[in-house]
């Protein structure tokens, strides 16, 4: 396989910033040259191609085992590959939950040979119920990449404390999407003027901020490692900034939708935009973009939550939370955030940072290295047509939209 005339985006590579032909044979980078004349290999060609280390999504709902009508490992892998990801983390909100080494093994064994590399995330609590701590060490030794209850938030501070403490024995990372349920109550969208004018109960930014505050204090107390998933509020970003300055071992991610849209987008009750964390105000959105730009937020995530039509094509309050996004992360960023988010920043937050934080195999673009590459074009235009969606679910507001920028290939 030869990638033709692609700009290398990998600060660790000697070819960083240069336009190169790259020859990959049997999963290894054999040659990187200005021009490789050999025509006998399959070619990847296009206008303004770029190549970077393979992208990673650290929080995918694969829905397998148990919820395969929404997604399974194969469809999740295909959707991820389509979106340019070479690696994804599988969140434990399955049925049964990934809460023991059996389920960890299931993911690892069943995903072998699929289009992308999958790492299971082990649950913090049994069934992700937030009560009894799961066998974290056992799951770690079976191959769990980190610990999280996924989309279920940990309400019990004592459990969070013990999880952070216990994870230290394996230098593990606890991932938590912060949200205080008792403050969220029956909330449907961000608490603000839009919620007030639509008669919908709001989810205050405070419901997230209070959890971020709690988690950071617990982190300081335990001196453990914490990843705050999918931040949505400006003050949360500020608190993480201060915690990092203090030297706490905290990292953070943001979901693409929260960079893209605000609660204004919900005026027509589009249930595909009913997501957690909720789309918040413009002030929050700008703070998230700035946070990503200055490195306070390390990782960009699709926050991919497949949901069947029966749970989405409903009156807004009855619809479930979540949207798919694996296939459109890059295109959404290029189409609507091109001015704010450069390709270099995207590579940083989609590939470099997640690999570093979670200690994935180093992948740098050099001769003799194992290939783990994403090839993409910022100018390729395409339509996210419903019949082309590779996820089993269709809960995306982008379906049918014309997009600019596309991941073209994942090579591993």
């Amino acid at each position: 396989m030869i990638i033709r005339q692609a700009t290398v985006l990998d600060a660790r590579s000697a070819h960083h910033g240069l336009v190169r032909d790259i020859l990959v044979v049997d999963g290894v980078i054999e040659a990187i040259e200005q021009h490789i004349s050999d025509q006998s290999f399959p070619q990847i060609e296009g206008r303004e191609l770029k190549v970077s280390p393979g992208w990673v999504d650290i929080g995918v709902q694969v829905c397998d085992p148990g919820l395969e009508h929404r997604e399974d490992l194969e469809s999740a892998a295909n959707a991820a590959e389509q979106g340019g990801f070479s690696t994804i983390f599988c969140l434990p909100n399955t049925s049964p939950a990934i809460h023991s080494k059996s389920e960890v093994n299931y993911i690892i064994n069943k995903s072998a040979g699929l289009a992308v590399k999958m790492y299971p995330v082990g649950a913090i609590s049994l069934n992700c119920e937030g009560k009894d701590i799961a066998e974290m060490m056992d799951m770690h030794h079976a191959g769990a990449i980190a610990f999280s209850d996924g989309k279920r938030t940990i309400q019990d501070s004592g459990l969070m404390l013990r999880a952070l403490q216990y994870a230290k024995s394996v230098d593990g990372i606890v991932m938590h999407q912060p949200l205080d349920q008792s403050l969220m109550m029956e909330g449907q969208i961000h608490e603000g003027i839009v919620a007030a004018s639509l008669g919908l109960k709001g989810i205050s930014a405070m419901a997230e901020e209070i959890m971020v505050q709690r988690d950071l204090r617990l982190l300081e107390y335990t001196d453990s490692r914490l990843h705050l998933s999918n931040l949505s509020a400006a003050r949360s970003v500020e608190m993480v900034r201060q915690a990092k300055a203090k030297g706490l071992r905290v990292t953070a991610s943001v979901a693409v939708l929260n960079l893209l849209l605000t609660d204004e987008a919900l005026q027509e009750f589009d249930s595909n935009l009913k997501v957690l964390p909720p789309l918040r105000s413009e002030v929050d959105r700008q703070a998230l973009i700035r946070g990503l730009q200055d490195g306070v937020i390390d990782v960009l995530s699709a926050n991919h939550i497949p949901m069947e039509e029966e749970n989405k094509k409903l009156e807004f309050t009855y619809a479930s939370f979540g949207a798919i996004g694996l296939e459109t992360v890059y295109a959404a960023c290029k189409t609507w955030l091109g001015k704010d988010i450069s390709d270099e920043l995207l590579v940083q937050s989609l590939a470099i940072c997640p690999r570093e934080i979670f200690g994935l195999p180093k992948s740098s673009i050099g001769v003799g290295q194992k290939a783990d590459l994403t090839v993409f074009s910022p100018i390729e235009t395409w339509e996210y047509a419903e019949n082309s969606v590779l996820s089993k679910s269709r809960n995306s507001h982008l379906i049918g939209k014309k997009l600019e920028g596309r991941a073209l290939a994942v090579i591993r």
């Binding site: 608490e191 003027i193 008669g199 094509k313 807004f316 009855y318």
Partner: protein
């Protein structure tokens, strides 16, 4: 015959989506229907051959009767469907139900539903005209129209008038629709109630917020008193009805302390002795029964104008 003026919208999903001309047109039409309603023969043939489905997915007595009477006065054919919210949880059921009814060639749907935005959802999937008879805590446009119409009957133009909405703002669709309608007519709006029953960001809609009942009564020309929606409160927002009645209920003693006479309104049904005392509800300050009468005329106007959009 002059060209019939038309509404700017195909549906009445909420006051938010109407403009001032729409509201004026509805009021003018309602005024002529009100005159009809006081004739010996109250029925007009305006909606002959138009079939209206009244779909009530939430309990209602007065709104349902008011719509039904309005439809009958206009000679429409009517079908009624009621179902408690518990048996209709999923939208497919809602869509299926409505599509089944529409398959029998129905022209208009009057619907009450517990979910905010249910009518938007329906409007995306069906062709018939939709009138919102209440969607959860979102809007109840015909109530707001009849409220404002009744106020204008008493006070004339509402430009610059002070209207205060008292009570459970958080769980009220009447409050939101009233706010939008009164603001479009130039009135100043205040909401007053316990802080736990007032949405935090409501001031951003341009309304004043007060927790002081006596001060608000003195401020306003009209007091629109809302029902405590106990059935919509998932948790306790105030400790007891007794305490609510004592500190937020509107009673005769409070009105007597004012140096002016204000209008008292209530969308009904009344919790007597809770948000409003009997001696206020039955007093000559109160136009509660006029509101009910005007409700039929307003609903006739809305039905008539939407039918003209065919």
């Amino acid at each position: 015959m002059s060209i019939v003026q038309q509404l700017s919208t195909k549906h009445i999903l909420g006051i938010k989506y109407l403009n001032q001309e729409d509201i004026r047109l509805i009021f003018e039409t309602a005024a002529s229907f009100k005159e009809v309603l006081n004739r010996p023969i109250k029925k007009v043939p305006s909606l002959r051959d138009v079939t209206v489905a009244n779909l009530f997915f939430e309990n209602s007595t007065r709104t349902r009767i008011s719509f039904e009477l309005a439809e009958k006065r206009l000679s429409a054919d009517i079908i009624n469907f009621s179902s408690s919210s518990s048996s209709v949880k999923k939208g497919e059921t809602l869509l299926d139900t409505v599509n089944n009814i529409l398959a029998m060639k129905v022209d208009m749907v009057v619907m009450r539903h517990p979910a905010p935005g249910a009518h938007h959802f329906l409007a995306q999937h069906i062709d018939a005209h939709i009138i919102n008879a209440g969607d959860g805590t979102h809007e109840h446009p015909t109530q707001a129209l009849l409220d404002a119409f009744s106020m204008e009957e008493q006070l004339g133009n509402l430009e610059g008038k002070n209207i205060c909405i008292f009570g459970d703002i958080l769980h009220s669709r009447v409050a939101l629709s009233n706010i939008f309608c009164l603001q479009k007519l130039g009135a100043k709006v205040r909401v007053c109630g316990p802080p736990t029953l007032i949405p935090k960001h409501i001031h951003q809609l341009g309304v004043e917020v007060s927790y002081n009942v006596d001060d608000s009564l003195q401020w306003c020309d009209v007091a629109n008193i809302l029902r405590i929606q106990l059935e919509r409160q998932d948790i306790k927002y105030f400790p007891s009805l007794r305490e609510y009645a004592t500190y937020f209920g509107i009673n005769k003693a409070r009105l007597q302390r004012l140096d002016k006479k204000i209008l008292i309104m209530h969308p009904g049904p009344i919790n007597r002795g809770v948000e409003i005392s009997s001696d206020v509800a039955d007093s000559d300050h109160s136009i509660i029964l006029q509101q009910v009468e005007n409700g039929v005329a307003i609903r006739m106007a809305v039905l008539y104008l939407l039918a003209a959009k065919r």
